[in-house]
C-alpha cells in the first residue's frame, strides 16, 4: 500500500490543481492551479522511474559488479520530465503574459467581471 503512496500523492496534487482551474474565478489563481496540475504529472512520471522490487533497488546497467553500485532509478522518465518542466514553465509564462495584458485592457482579472464587461459591450 505504501508503495503506491507516490501515485496517490501525484493524483491528489493533480486534483487540487484541477479543482482550482475549474472553481477559481480569478485568472491568476487559475494559472497557478494549472501549474499545480501539471506538477502532479511530474511526480507521477518520476515515481514510475523507480527500479525497486521487494525492497531491493535496481542496478544501473553500466555496473558489472552489483555490490559497488548505489541505488538506481530509470533515468528516462526524469529526462522526459525535464522537458515537461520546461513546457509547464513556458505555459505559465504565456498565461501570465496574457493575464497582464487582460489586466491592462479590462482593468480586472476576475473572470465574472470580464464576462460582465463583454456582455455590456455587446
Amino acid at each position: 500500500m505504501f508503495g503506491l503512496f507516490n501515485y496517490w500523492l501525484a493524483i491528489v496534487i493533480m486534483m487540487i490543481g484541477f479543482y482550482g482551474v475549474i472553481a477559481k474565478r480569478n485568472l491568476l489563481k487559475q494559472a497557478i492551479a494549472l501549474s499545480l496540475f501539471q506538477t502532479g504529472v511530474l511526480m507521477f512520471y518520476v515515481s514510475m522511474g523507480v527500479y525497486e522490487k521487494d525492497g531491493v533497488s535496481g542496478v544501473a546497467p553500466v555496473w558489472t559488479d552489483a555490490a559497488k553500485a548505489g541505488p538506481f532509478d530509470n533515468p528516462l522518465p526524469h529526462v522526459l520530465m525535464l522537458t515537461a518542466i520546461v513546457v509547464s514553465v513556458s505555459t505559465l509564462a504565456v498565461a501570465v503574459a496574457l493575464i497582464v495584458n487582460i489586466k491592462r485592457k479590462y482593468g480586472t482579472i476576475e473572470e465574472d467581471e470580464i464576462l460582465a464587461i463583454d456582455a455590456r459591450d455587446r
Binding site: L27, F37, P77, A84, S90, T91, V94
Partner: protein, 515 residues
C-alpha cells in the same frame, strides 16, 4: 550537376526531419528580420513565405516519395535505433497530413501579408512570423514523429504558439486575450491528459516508440496479460479525453468558437484548417497504430460516434443563431470535426477514408472561407452580420469564393465536401447504421440553413450604408483564397487523387486496427 544530384540525394534522405527543421530554424531566424527593418515588415513576410514554400516543396516531395515507393520512410534521429532514439516515420497517412498542413501554411502565409499589416502592430511583425513558423513546425512535427513523447513536446510547441497567435488579435479586439487564455487553460489540461496517457503506456511497455508500443501491447495481449489490466484502460481514457479536447470534440469544444472568432484573420485561417486536424491525426495514431488490435475498442467507438452525432447537430444548430460570421464558421468547424470523428469511429474503409479525405477537404474549404471573411474584416472593419449586408455587390469575387466554400460545407455535389460526405454515408450504410447516415444528412440540412442565411444577407439584402465605398479585396488575399476554393471544386469534380490517397491512408490506419 554533380552537386545538385548530391544535394537532392541528401535532401531526399533527410526529408522527414527537414520538413520540421526548416520552419523551426526558419522561425527563429525570422526574429532577426527585426534588425533589418523595424518590426520586420515586409522582409519578415517574404522570409516566412520563402520558408513555407520550402516546406511545401519538401512535403510534396515526401508525399511523392511515399506514393511512388509505397513504403514507409523511416528516419532515425542521430542514427539511434528505434528503441532508444526518436524516430520519424512517414507513411501514406501522415505524408498526406503533412502535405495538407504545408499547403495551408503556405497559402495562409501568402494571405497573411495584408491581413497582418492591418491587424497586428507594425513593430511586432517579426515576432508574429516567428511564432507563426514555430506553430507550423509544431503542427508538422506532430504529424511526422513516431515517438509518443515527442508528440507531446511538439504538441506543446504548436499549442503555445497558437495561444500566442490567437492573443495577437487582442490589439483589434480585447476579447481575443480572454479567448486565448481559455484556450490555453483547456489546451494545457488536454495536453497534460495526453502526457498522463503516454505515461501509462510507458509504464506498461517501457518504450516510447509507437510501433514498439504496439508490438509490446500485442505480445502482452497474446500472453493474456491485458485481460483485467486497468492500466491500459485508464491510459486510453486519459488519452481520449486529452485528444477530445485537442480535437474540440463535443462536449469538449468550448475553447474553440471564441479562439477562432477573435484571432487575427490569418491566424483563424491557419488554425481552423490545421490545428484540430492534427488532433485527429494523433487520435488515429493512438487509437489505431498503438491500441489497434490490442483490445476491443468497439464500445469506445460507439461512444465516440454518439458524441460526434451530438456534436454535428448541436454545433450546427448553434451556428444558425450566431451574429458573427466568423463564429458561424467556428461552430461549423466543430460540426465538421465531428464528421471526421464519426467517420473513423465506424472503423471500416469508407468511413475512415471519409475522415482522412475530409481532413484535406475541410481544411481547404474552411481555410478559403476564413480568408474571405478576413478580407471583409480588412475592408469593413468587422465580420458581423451588419458588415456582411449587401457586400456581395461590392466584393463579388471574395463573396463568390465564400459562397462556393459554403456550398462545400453543405456538401453540394461537385464540391470537395460532397466527396467526404459520400464516403461517410457509404461507411454508415456498410456499417448497417442508417441512423448515422441520417444524422449526417441532417447535418447537411442544418449547414444549408446556416450558410444560406449568410448567403441571403450577403447577396440579397441591401447594404446597411449604401454610400459606404467598399473595395474588392487585394490580390494577395484573392489569389490564395481562390486557389483553396478552386481546389475545393477541382477535388470535388475529380476526387480520384484525393480519394485514392485517402484510401491508401485508410488502409494504413485499419491495418493497425485489425484484431
Amino acid at each position: 550537376m554533380e552537386f545538385e544530384s548530391e544535394f537532392m540525394r541528401a535532401l531526399m534522405e533527410h526529408l522527414p526531419v527537414v520538413v520540421v527543421t526548416i520552419p523551426l530554424f526558419g522561425g527563429l531566424l525570422t526574429l532577426f528580420t527585426g534588425l533589418i527593418q523595424r518590426g520586420g515588415g515586409v522582409v519578415a513576410w517574404l522570409w516566412s513565405l520563402l520558408v513555407t514554400a520550402a516546406i511545401l516543396a519538401c512535403a510534396s516531395l515526401l508525399l511523392w516519395q511515399v506514393q511512388t515507393t509505397g513504403e514507409q520512410v523511416i528516419y532515425r534521429l542521430g542514427s539511434w535505433p528505434e528503441q532508444w532514439g526518436i524516430v520519424y516515420i512517414v507513411d501514406a497517412l501522415n505524408a498526406y497530413v503533412i502535405f495538407t498542413i504545408a499547403l495551408l501554411g503556405f497559402m495562409a502565409t501568402l494571405y497573411a501579408k495584408t491581413s497582418i499589416e492591418a491587424e497586428v502592430a507594425h513593430d511586432r511583425h517579426h515576432q508574429f512570423y516567428t511564432v507563426w513558423l514555430l506553430a507550423i513546425a509544431g503542427l508538422i512535427g506532430i504529424s511526422v514523429t513516431g515517438d509518443a513523447f515527442n508528440v507531446y513536446v511538439l504538441l506543446e510547441i504548436a499549442s503555445l504558439t497558437v495561444y500566442t497567435l490567437v492573443a495577437m488579435g487582442g490589439e483589434r479586439d480585447r476579447r481575443a486575450l480572454v479567448a486565448s487564455l481559455k484556450y490555453l487553460i483547456l489546451g494545457s489540461i488536454g495536453a497534460t491528459f495526453i502526457l498522463l496517457g503516454i505515461g501509462y503506456l510507458l509504464m506498461l511497455t517501457g518504450t516510447l516508440n509507437m510501433a514498439d508500443m504496439h508490438d509490446q501491447l500485442t505480445q502482452m495481449h497474446a500472453r493474456g496479460e491485458l485481460a483485467h489490466n486497468r492500466t491500459v484502460l485508464v491510459g486510453f481514457a486519459f488519452l481520449m479525453v486529452g485528444l477530445g479536447l485537442k480535437m474540440a470534440l463535443f462536449p469538449l469544444h468550448l475553447w474553440l468558437p471564441n479562439a477562432y472568432t477573435y484571432a487575427p484573420s490569418a491566424v483563424s485561417v491557419l488554425i481552423a484548417s490545421t490545428a484540430t486536424k492534427v488532433g485527429v491525426y494523433m487520435t488515429f495514431r493512438f487509437v489505431f497504430t498503438i491500441w489497434g488490435g490490442v483490445y476491443d475498442t468497439s464500445e469506445d467507438m460507439y461512444l465516440l460516434s454518439l458524441l460526434a452525432c451530438a456534436g454535428i447537430v448541436i454545433s450546427s444548430v448553434t451556428a444558425i443563431s450566431q451574429f458573427d460570421a466568423k463564429k458561424v464558421l467556428a461552430y461549423s468547424s466543430i460540426g465538421q470535426l465531428a464528421y471526421i470523428v464519426l467517420g473513423f469511429s465506424m472503423v471500416n474503409e469508407p468511413g475512415v477514408t471519409s475522415s482522412v479525405i475530409h481532413i484535406f477537404n475541410h481544411a481547404v474549404v474552411k481555410g478559403g472561407m476564413f480568408m474571405a471573411l478576413g478580407a471583409v474584416c480588412l475592408r469593413t472593419g468587422g465580420t458581423s452580420i451588419e458588415h456582411l449586408q449587401g457586400i456581395g455587390k461590392q466584393m463579388p469575387l471574395t463573396m463568390a469564393a465564400f459562397t462556393i466554400g459554403g456550398l462545400g460545407l453543405i456538401g453540394v455535389p461537385m464540391t470537395a465536401g460532397f466527396v467526404s460526405k459520400w464516403f461517410l454515408i457509404e461507411g454508415a450504410m456498410e456499417h448497417g447504421h442508417w441512423a448515422l447516415a441520417f444524422v449526417v444528412l441532417l447535418g447537411s440540412l442544418l449547414a444549408l440553413i446556416y450558410i444560406w442565411r449568410l448567403v441571403e444577407i450577403i447577396w440579397l439584402r441591401p447594404p446597411l450604408d449604401p454610400k459606404r465605398v467598399v473595395k474588392e479585396a487585394p490580390l494577395t488575399m484573392l489569389i490564395p483564397m481562390w486557389i483553396l476554393i478552386g481546389s475545393s471544386i477541382a477535388f470535388g469534380i475529380d476526387a480520384t487523387w484525393t480519394a485514392e490517397t485517402a484510401q491508401a491512408a485508410a488502409r494504413v490506419i485499419l491495418e493497425g486496427a485489425k484484431l
